[in-house]
């Protein structure tokens, strides 16, 4: 939520509010994360990420000012929620609350003779600073109170009602309402509407948005101001269903205090009378307000015991005072939070308040004692590790693939996309796709003969199981299936030896089995035998450009090491050479033949034959220039 520093400052005596950066730091470590600070029309605007449990009382300038006041131990000049309210003058509006509608309390104010015009500059400036667009003085007054006190209110043109009679009821299924701004939405019978009761026409969606039927316009003279308490959950579900999350609904769904209603309406009335004139005819109330917060009993020792820091009685009491908690202390503290706070209902929530105001950074770290309980070995994890270790040592590389696929036995009710709306029923399908993808890069990967990958992961059919799958691809088409089968069978034999159990059959290019099914037959493990972890590497992003493969075969005199040729290759290729892999070596008539795969790739562009050709020419040139050396 965006809050204006200037607006916050208006709650404090001159010079009492610490600087923007001090406020930012204090809030960060004791209350809320700060998303950022920006300057808008010369005013600092702080974007505060109010935590969900504080949305009831802190989605407002007053709420943040109160928080700052507690954290800096600096009193507010005047707190609008601590003054006497007076909404007792009875007016001529009639309110009828529908039995099923989720509205527990409704207060209406009736003002006649207002002049609808632009708001005064100070009000416009405050709204604009936090990104709100001024509309007219009457509407702006309700918006202002929303951001000042966190209390949504709504204003109707009273003369557009048939009689001065407001109702609430559930919407009819399929009932339509045109909202302020002109969008029409269709309602269902779980949603609450406000009606012009005499005509039964819906004039607003409760807690969410007003309709255009009784919209205030430049000719409006008589207005009806509404503040009502709507059920938080129903408001949230309605806003979700209509995809209409508004500043109002965001506050209702967070269960703000019932008692805010009267403060909100009185404040709106006060501002409208000041900036739009008119005469207050009176208020009408229907329904009940809840009883507010209950006392919470907290054992003093428990506070320090949960937080792990010794906090003195004086400091605890000081924190309660700063937070304006009422408290008494006998054997235990009895603590009651001010009415607008909705998040202090159990001892642990009181302890949280003490902890955060005290400062979590003052809690000194402690190491755990030795455990009381003998920790056993998790057999499934232990065997996953044994399998991973065995396969890795055989040069099989582990991949992690997606569980969401285009087909399977378990379908999601809601999905990202039609190709990701099922849970995988096996690992093989993913492994096969991965073989194809990686198969295209075999030379680049230095895997000139064979590509071996595996995955251990969960699959979903009748039940969820953890499976293991190995997949193999080989270079060239000659006797391909045979070669794949030989490699897979060899891998399988190694796994069988490591596990001490027979496994199922190789199927084409993959071999998959269910770990859960053999787990019982595997012997117990005394302790984990962890495989290697990643060494001291320096990670570099891979190039997204295609690679170029070239081979080179050479004759050199006997005694020449392959590294000498490799050095020549490297010296002419620079950064573009990704790999040089020896694939053939034999000696004949006092000469050695070395053959290499050279793989070129650029980080910046697609390499052309011309560029690679020039490099090859230089390499070949240098080799051919040496006594007894020759490129074949």
């Amino acid at each position: 939520m965006k809050v204006s520093y200037e607006w916050i400052n208006s709650f404090f005596k001159e010079g009492a509010l610490p600087s923007v950066s001090e406020v930012e730091e204090k809030l960060t470590f004791h209350a809320f994360e700060i998303e950022g600070v920006e300057e808008v029309n010369g005013v600092s605007v702080i974007d505060v990420d109010v935590l969900p449990n504080r949305a009831a009382d802190c989605l407002s300038h007053r709420g943040i000012a109160r928080e700052i006041s507690a954290l800096f131990n600096t009193p507010m000049k005047e707190d609008p929620l601590r003054k006497e309210i007076n909404v007792s003058k009875e007016g001529g509006v009639k309110v009828t609350l529908g039995k099923d509608a989720s509205c527990s309390y409704y207060i209406a104010a009736h003002i006649t003779g207002v002049e609808v015009k632009d708001s005064p500059e100070w009000l416009k400036a405050r709204l604009e600073a936090i990104g709100q667009k001024p509309i007219n003085n009457v509407v702006d007054a309700t918006n202002y109170v929303l951001f000042e006190l966190g209390r949504p209110t709504h204003v109707f043109d009273a003369k557009k009602f048939e009689g001065l009679h407001v109702g609430t009821r559930l919407a009819k299924s399929g009932e339509k309402i045109t909202l302020l701004g002109g969008d029409e939405v269709e309602l269902n019978d779980s949603m609450t509407v406000i009606t012009d009761a005499d005509s039964d026409k819906a004039v607003a969606i409760g807690g969410i948005k007003g309709g255009n039927h009784a919209e205030v316009d430049s000719n409006t003279t008589d207005i009806l101001i509404e503040t009502a308490n709507f059920n938080p959950t129903k408001t949230r579900l309605t806003a979700q269903a209509l995809k209409l999350r508004t500043d109002a609904s965001a506050r209702f769904e967070n269960n703000m205090a019932d008692g805010l209603a009267d403060y909100g309406i009185e404040r709106v009335v006060e501002i409208i009378l000041k900036i739009a004139g008119g005469e207050l005819q009176g208020y009408t109330k229907e329904g009940e307000l809840d009883e507010g917060n209950m006392e919470v009993n907290v054992n003093e020792e428990r506070i320090s015991k949960l937080l792990g820091a010794k906090i003195s009685t004086e400091e605890i009491e000081d924190i309660f005072t700063r937070l304006e908690f009422e408290y008494t202390k006998e054997n235990e503290f009895k603590v009651k939070a001010p009415f607008e706070r909705r998040d202090v209902n159990i001892p642990e929530e009181v302890i949280e308040e003490v902890g955060r105001v005290y400062g979590y950074n003052r809690i000194e770290s402690k190491q755990l004692d030795s455990p009381q309980r003998e920790g056993g070995v998790n057999k499934k994890y232990a065997y996953s590790e044994i399998i991973k270790k065995t396969l890795t040592e055989l040069g099989v590389t582990e991949v992690s693939l997606y569980s969401l696929r285009d087909s399977g036995e378990v379908k999601l009710l809601n999905s990202l996309a039609s190709d990701k709306d099922h849970l995988r029923k096996n690992l093989s399908d993913g492994i096969k796709e991965s073989l194809v993808k990686n198969g295209k890069n075999m030379p680049l990967l230095g895997l000139h003969q064979e590509l071996k990958i595996f995955e251990i992961g969960n699959v979903f059919g009748e039940r969820e199981t953890t499976n293991v799958c190995v997949g193999v691809e080989v270079a060239g088409n000659k006797k391909k299936e045979e070669r794949v089968e030989t490699i897979l069978t060899n891998v399988k034999t190694h796994l069988e030896n490591a596990l001490g159990i027979k496994l199922g059959n190789v199927a084409g290019s993959t071999f998959e089995f269910t770990l859960d099914d053999i787990l019982e037959d595997l012997k117990d493990v005394e302790e984990y035998s962890f495989g290697n972890v990643v060494g001291d590497i320096s990670y570099k992003s891979a190039s997204s450009y295609p690679f170029v493969l070239r081979d080179i075969a050479t004759w050199v005199p006997a005694g020449v090491e392959k590294e000498e040729i490799e050095k020549i290759v490297v010296s002419h290729s620079g950064e573009l050479l990704k790999r040089v892999d020896l694939f053939d070596e034999f000696e004949k008539d006092g000469r050695i033949s070395y053959a290499f795969h050279l793989v070129f790739q650029s980080m910046e562009e697609t390499l052309t034959d011309v560029v690679v050709g020039e490099i090859m020419e230089k390499i070949e040139g240098e080799i051919n220039g040496k006594e007894g050396w020759e490129v074949r």
């Binding site: 004791h30 209350a31 935590l51 969900p52 938080p232 769904e253 015991k305 949960l306 937080l307 792990g308 820091a309 159990i346 929530e349 302890i351 949280e352 902890g355 955060r356 979590y360 950074n361 000194e364 770290s365 402690k366 755990l368 455990p371 009381q372 309980r373 920790g375 056993g376 040592e393 590389t397 991949v399 992690s400 693939l401 997606y402 569980s403 969401l404 378990v410 009710l413 809601n414 999905s415 990202l416 993913g430 993808k437 990686n438 590509l451 995955e455 969960n458 969820e464 984990y528 495989g531 290697n532 972890v533 990643v534 060494g535 590497i537 992003s541 891979a542 490799e566 490297v570 790999r579």
Partner: protein
Amino acid sequence: MGISYVILFSMQKSYINPLTSAIREIVEIFSEMGFEVAQGPELETEHYNFDALNVAKDHPARDMQDTFWVDENHVLRTHDTAVTARKLKENDGAMRFVSCGKAYRNEATDMTHEAQFFQVDAFAIGKDITLAHLKGTLETFFEKFLGGSVEIRFRPGFFPFVEPGVEVDMKLIGDDVPKRLKGKWIEILGAGMLHPNVLKTAGIDPEEYQGWAFGGGIERLCMLKWGIDDIRLFHGGDLKFIQQFSV
């Protein structure tokens, strides 16, 4: 050229999936501190994913995580904390568990968001386990996992299954620390003291036992550790990526 020369010619290397490597280290470090390894299903009941963790049906916190639903009562677990709920239910008394597993969120993917990801969740309960022990445990963990010397900082946070809830930042200092991490505060985990409702639901008396829990993304830990910039690389199965991670 000297260094890449060495890399170019060491052909017979073994490559470790970075997630496996990170999980190995996490399990090793926490095992030494007396934590047992826990696992649980990815297709989880609504009960263990939400209700048992104090996220009631109509709680707005359910909106915080975009959930994949399988049927009316089953979800793809949105956090590995579901395993914590199971272990609390299965066991009595003092216990410590660590679990590393896959979780899912129904959200658009980008460089820092994935629909599937791995999480590490750990918890310790006993008669006098406090927020101070959480700080100490995390210091030990990060010092061993990332090297160097670690400072841990808590800020207020909100997660329905803990009370108090904290956001955890860490800062690495020392000579061995990679430059990109050195001396910077990094937001790394969510944590807190297990909510009494969570303990009660599991049949544990919150007057007698208390403890902490934390959870965080393993890909994110890997990204910090190795300087990886895109979370999507972890599950693409591309060996060009995995071959960067050699023993």
